[in-house]
Point group: C2
Chain length 246, copies 2
């Protein structure tokens, strides 16, 4: 028995997210089924990040245990021959039997992609969130600076997550603009449920002038009189990678 | 009766190209049908560029004549409400009754998008051509310089197009590299059938070391002993825009 770690990229458009569900096709279910067909064993992958319906990944991470004699480094090629084209295994390697992608210190990087303009580019309709309203980029740029550091992100998650441990450390948060695109990149030691999409929702409200940039800081400090929870839609979000650290 | 010019963007993935065909859905057919539903007249659009099956556009151009009382500038919004999400009208405006998108001097810009690496990014599978072989970027970069100027491009089109007027002028041809992407941009006063994809095919052969960079020049001058016609696949090609000049 060996444990294999895979890096998984996917176009989340037609999936109900990562985690197996009674109704609807998920990344986890397709991986389990494809591995079962390939190896002839019942396989259960354990994933690092349970991305939501419609969210994409370039570097989600999963492990599974197998007796297969396919060399661990070749597993990616064998899997890619059987997987649908919207799921790709970017790498495969053996890891120690107790290595688990969720119980290991890590830094995750997410990207949220906005497109601005009058009419959306049809080639970006599954990878960007299209916004017609004019956005104050400089206000948004100031707002992201308040995200960096260790904060309580309870104001940027769903109510049902309150009461849990909601402190997270953000190492960097940047906003880039290129033509009609705005890219938000955030790198941190962990993210609460819907956290990136709710931060993006708040940044959009700031860009539209509904709140000043300091609103982000007020929510993080629990000092905002008004906390409006807006969740930006899933198609703009990409889990870029997960770096495991000692 | 007025003539309206529209700028049309589309994700060509699920279409059999621009031009109406007896079998298979095309951009032209969808536009005609959507206009007929919107306006209640039989409409026949005339397009500038008959892009192939699977080829994309950000700025193809078409005109149509109508008695509709929808203001010309509002036509784009009315159409976008009825069109499928993979076709978007980026602009609409009235033009003189004799203005035709194919019989007007113009400069067209095409982009061909390559992705290189071991495993393709699933988010780019409909917009890039994925190449696993290592490419000599510097050789390709030299090769594109030979394209600029007025040349006979008969070596970069299908046999059946020979005998026609095959001289075209290329204003610029550039190759950009960013991470795993290589973008080829070419701007010229006209393009023969399959010309950009056959140039890309030749550039790939040069990148793989089959021919030296000067092969492009030899084909253009009709001096190459061996002319190998390789057509790069459609999904990497985008008609970026058409500039009309006096």
């Amino acid at each position: 028995m060996k444990r294999i770690k895979v890096i998984v990229a996917y176009d989340g458009t037609r999936y109900c997210g990562w985690q197996i569900q009674p109704n609807g096709i998920t990344i986890e279910a397709v991986l389990n089924q494809t591995l079962a067909e390939l190896i002839g064993e019942e396989i259960k992958v354990a994933g690092a990040s349970r991305t939501d319906s419609g969210v994409h990944a370039l570097g989600n991470v999963a492990v599974f245990d197998t007796d297969s004699n396919i060399p661990s480094e070749r597993m990616m090629y064998a899997l890619n021959q059987k997987l649908p084209a919207d799921i790709r295994i970017m790498n495969s390697e053996e890891v120690p039997a107790d290595w688990h992608p969720r119980f290991q210190k890590s830094i995750k990087t997410y990207e949220y992609r906005l497109e601005t303009g009058t009419v959306p580019n049809p080639l970006q309709r599954f990878t960007h969130y299209f916004v017609t309203q004019p956005l104050d980029f400089m206000a948004m740029e100031e707002a992201v600076t308040y995200l960096v550091g260790e904060h309580d992100f309870v104001g940027f998650t769903r109510e049902e997550c309150q009461g849990k441990h909601t402190i997270r450390k953000i190492y960097s948060a940047t906003l880039l603009r290129a033509d009609t695109e705005i890219l938000f990149q955030i790198r941190g030691n962990g993210f609460l449920y819907n956290m990136v999409r709710m931060i993006m929702g708040a940044l959009l409200e700031i860009g539209k002038g509904r709140f000043p940039p300091v609103y982000i800081q007020e929510v993080l400090k629990g000092e905002s009189k008004e906390v409006v929870k807006v969740t930006a839609p899933p198609q703009g979000l990409v889990l870029v990678n997960i770096e495991y650290i000692k």
